[in-house]
Symmetry: D3
Subunit: 229 residues, 6 copies
């Protein structure tokens, strides 16, 4: 597993602002609190947690088009931001949050594989900071966060299971799996893809074991970062 760094308070305006690094991958995750909810939740006394994902045009080896300029978000972007939103909602008691929306913006400053897993892991910390900010203002009756959420990738590379793939490993991979877990050992999301070779059940088992171990390290890193403040 690559070195993980979690830096809280990276920018100053957001209620939570975390720069997370998985090796050379760096993602800025901000949590923004707003006192309104989407239309389908209005008047129901419950909150919402959602995410948006973006990649700076030159976060990658070659420059990619700016989505704002092309006029639409690509399928990959939408897929990832839906994944981040679902993953974080899995640890939030939305009734305890009240009629508020927390938006997690995950913007990749530098990409080297694993941007979605880094984003989920960092967004969790930003989310906790935003909730603490609400608690500090006495706006919540009880803690809406239950447990922690982290994510890591694993893949079969050169016939061997590998944890937390960087860009080079990811490109040469037969199978790529993204695993989102909570700190109770439960699976929140599992996305395995084999564009080249289909993977066997024993390979899947090896990847899940690796990912479980990796998430354990990530929960420790999250806790250490949150304890520091």
């Amino acid at each position: 597993m690559r070195e993980v760094r979690i830096e809280r308070g990276f920018t100053r305006h957001a209620e939570g602002s975390v720069l997370v690094a998985f090796g050379e991958t760096r993602v800025l995750c901000t949590a923004s609190v707003e006192n309104r909810v989407p239309g389908f939740l209005r008047g129901k006394g419950t909150g919402w947690v959602t995410a948006e994902y973006g990649m700076l045009p030159r976060a990658t080896h070659t420059r990619s088009d700016r989505e704002a300029s092309r006029g639409k978000q690509g399928g990959r972007t939408l897929e990832i931001q839906r994944l981040i939103g679902r993953s974080l909602r899995a640890c939030v008691d939305r009734d305890a949050l009240g009629e508020r929306t927390i938006t997690l913006d995950c913007d990749v400053l530098q990409a080297d594989g694993g941007t979605r897993t880094a984003a989920i892991t960092g967004a969790y910390v930003a989310l906790v900071d935003a909730v603490r900010w609400l608690q500090g203002r006495g706006e919540l009756k009880r803690d809406p966060i239950h447990g922690a959420v982290a994510a890591v990738s694993a893949g079969i590379h050169g016939g061997l299971p590998v944890l937390d793939l960087d860009y080079v490993e990811d490109s040469g991979c037969d199978t790529d799996m993204n695993v989102v877990m909570n700190d109770g050992g439960g699976f929140i999301e599992l996305q395995g893809t084999a564009e080249g070779h289909a993977f066997r059940r024993d390979e899947l088992d090896a990847l899940l074991a690796l990912a479980t171990k990796g998430c354990g390290e990530l929960f420790a890193a999250q806790q250490a970062a949150l304890a520091a403040g």
Copy 2:
């Protein structure tokens, strides 16, 4: 598992045209052959297989907006069509296909859960028909299809693992998993989601066992349909 029906030749213009039903879910899958490839493949002697997915506005219980009229495809649509494309490419030798594109259009006429798994299962049959059409014209030196691809959903509903969820089961589900397999028993895609409750490893094992069994039945249905022609 709900009753599966696969009707080939449902429309006449497409090189492959299949109406697939998983219970009350009905998807029209057409395969269109074109003698050109996307820009990134031009001149490389290799082909492409891609998919598009759509839902008729009143395929669902309440009418949903027409994506063409809203001016963009939603995130769910893009996610599903990317999944269908990746899944079908997993059984195609693209060099053997030559510089051709096969586009699989999967349009849901009636939805009752499992539209993406029905689409993949039906699109495979349409793809084979399109390849046979090419073979019938003597345009292929060797068969570009290796093995078969099918997909099924499984979930934990009321504490019990259930195969091939319909809409009611899907809505009340704690965990929803879509599994794409090949007929060699390998996994091509695995997408498990737990927006409510995280799922445990033993639940995952139960779902994978169910899905493996379900895909077995689907491979049989595909073979029966293809033998009929």
Copy 3:
């Protein structure tokens, strides 16, 4: 005139669902009832009837782009759906409908000329079924439908007037006319186009006579289908 088939109840969720065939042209027409009206009618106690039209990408001889994916509906699509909406409104007493919208979705599964006229003819039957559904629930005080609406094309092909042109005839036509009528013999819409040769008054007369006869057959087919339920 090609063989006309009208199959009611083709899908199960819509309040009216009709598969209409004019020869090899097949259009799925659904009628959806919603208890709201567009902004310009709100609070006026009157209803609305509107239509949307789409063509599956491979309904045609060669695959056409999916409008949802291109991000906009083409001029032809908009023109046709406006025509369908106007035509059906011509037989509806919107005050009797109350503050409800009925949306007629006409999706072409297979195209062989005459998709717009088939769509209007089928949409009328779906509309009647939706009104019957409302009547069955006791929601209407009086019948909002007055008379019937049907449509057919006619053209000058090889110097001779021809009714209900298929794709081959249509492509080779000097003049193409779409005629929408009610069962009282009145004209609702008349759209004649001569991109090649202008048409003379006597040719117009011949086309109108043919179209009147064709619509008579369509009214009979609609009545037979509606009597069957």
Copy 4:
């Protein structure tokens, strides 16, 4: 029929530039010549004639949204510009034009009913001026224009047939018909609409007689204007 004015050379850059007025309706029609054709005609030695239509936001009684700012052209706009394009192509020998495109931009400066018929009538004059400009440079071997094209509306208003409806008449009309003719007495386009009351055959005959007479006056006005230069 309202007073018709045709002013050539209204702006200076376009190869043809005509301000046409039907009463208070004023439309600026420019014809632009370009030495290229759309992709589907490239290399075939034939030309193209196309049209675009727009309405200034405050051409109307109340301000309407600017289509450029809304991000798309409405269905009515697309329908009208397709009509103008088809109508003008009906008098052009595209082989004689060579691989050139003439684009007719029809922009409504002030609207009072009949904008599309005024646009067609004025665009014809702009088109002739553009062709003369090409002839003046010796770029054409033979005249690509055969005959003239003009258009007028007619309708049943208060039970009586009326020619060239202004906005007030148009709004109160049971039937509205737009007729495009050539100066040989042939019909190029016929678009009759009865959103309220269906129209009978004898009403249609009366409208066609009126329109034929109106187009006669328009051909005279076009010729007078073209003779003046």
Copy 5:
């Protein structure tokens, strides 16, 4: 400075309608009054003045694409309409206007350099006419217009400072400056650009002196036009 003409009442529906010409540049400026304000001002008892800018496709030497058809307004268009809006707001007491919006549509019929400065100069006159219209209906307690606003361009061309550049001068210019002033001699907007050569302080001084003189002439022309009505 080129000849300036200001023609009021050019079209009839708008509350203010001015055709302004700076030499061969001609812009139609209409002012539309609406009894509502944008969301961010609702309920605050204050009004809004905004502008939109467009160029007819063949206002220029070669035809440019229609922005409505391309589906978005270009950066230049947005920049200019923001400039016009800010400039005109500078002479309006928005509290005195009450909860109304005045929209200034500036559409270029013919371009020969200086379209934005002509638009501002003409829009001021249209704005005054719209305010007089409101006053004529007794809807305003006090005059919301304070002072006048006009704009002119100046540039360094062939080493010499030049006022009110036409297209040829503008294209060959080292420095281009647009100056918006009020009739008290104050600067409202100053936009100087040197894509080729940077300009020195003494050149800037010369341009500002020229522009001040030019705006003086424009204020006189505006007053003369407004006195005429």
Copy 6:
């Protein structure tokens, strides 16, 4: 003037990557080299320099919508990126660059006033780094950079001229001026805006003097940063 920091090599993939801070405003400027030019320059042996500008959604006090998700860039964004592009082109000999494009992406991580001036100042350093990268590979015959470019804002705040306005000062400002200069003392761009009060000539003079002084400090900071590498 607020503290200025310029950090080179902030990310690793871009040919130039600079994090620039003007007080609490932080902008990431990357320069990307591509061996192709826009269509209008193809085959002319000359290069291109262009810019894109973006703001992370929570760079600001309250979260703003993501432009990629809204589907278009706002007018302010387009205006700023055009300004950055023009400013940087002013110091580049595009013939010496050859048929290459350098794209400057300026993404605001944190905003506190002056984002466009910080962007220009930082983009210059990234541009130099990209040119050095090309020189290091021996791809340039002569240095395409002549002189330096920097930018600063100045305004009248509480009656007094102030340099390098932060957000609070900017919001309370009567006049806001952005000044882009080269290190020869020439002006490249001058944009002064007075939405409230028009500014007098003596105020303009004071602002220009301040801005000239400020740019002097920025040139020194740029040189220091570039000397460090």
